[in-house]
Amino acid sequence: MKKKENTKKHEGTWVLLNKKRKVLYRSDNVADVFRKGQEYPHGTVIIEQRFEPGTCFF
């Protein structure tokens, strides 16, 4: 059986998603993701931050 590749360690914190929530682009640099988002028609994509579950913000 083919071992599933673990891609988690390569994930960026910020992601650009289409309406089906497919990741189009990801980066640890928030500005890069916002900049990439401008390449798409307005309202066709959204930006999210992927927090590690259990992350504490104070």
Binding site: L16, L17, N29, V30, A31, F34, R35, G37, Q38, Y40, H42, G43, V45, I46, I47, E48, Q49, F51, P53, G54, T55, F57, F58
Partner: protein, 139 residues
């Protein structure tokens, strides 16, 4: 800090991260809208909206020095002040805020939506057990 008429919002959020999240759209200095940021953190522990410096630079915001350092949970850090326009909401229901002073920090782990202006304009109810936050315009 002008804004368009306030709307009542009832935001549900993904609870994987355990903190209340709201949708916000920033505007570039030239007025161009960014894409929607779907999960800014609603943070009653923050005095004002706080964004990473890299985002402020990308938006073309003019940074001004702050008279005092920024107190964070991790200690004192340096920050700047900038003035920003943004839209609160999603799905065609938006409140447009103009000329809002915000905090800009180089080391900023997230986009934080603090007391000014949202908690001043809205009664905010966070229903963590339902992964929902309700923003009711103050009378």
């Amino acid at each position: 800090m002008p804004h368009s008429p306030l709307l009542k919002f009832n935001f549900t959020y993904d609870n994987r991260f355990g903190v209340p999240l709201i949708p916000i759209t920033f505007l570039h200095k030239d007025g161009l809208q960014t894409q929607l940021l779907n999960n800014a953190i609603l943070d009653s522990g923050a005095y004002e909206i706080t964004i990473p410096k890299s985002l402020a630079d990308m938006l073309g915001l003019e940074l001004r020095p702050r008279s005092n350092p920024v107190h964070t949970a991790g200690g004192l850090t340096e920050g700047s002040t900038a003035t920003i326009n943004f839209l609160l909401g999603r799905g065609g229901r938006f409140v447009h805020y103009s000329n809002v002073d915000i905090c800009v920090m180089k080391q900023c782990p997230a986009v934080l939506i603090g007391i000014r202006p949202l908690f001043e304009d809205y009664s905010v109810t966070i229903m963590a057990h339902q992964h929902r936050c309700i923003l009711e315009p103050k009378e």
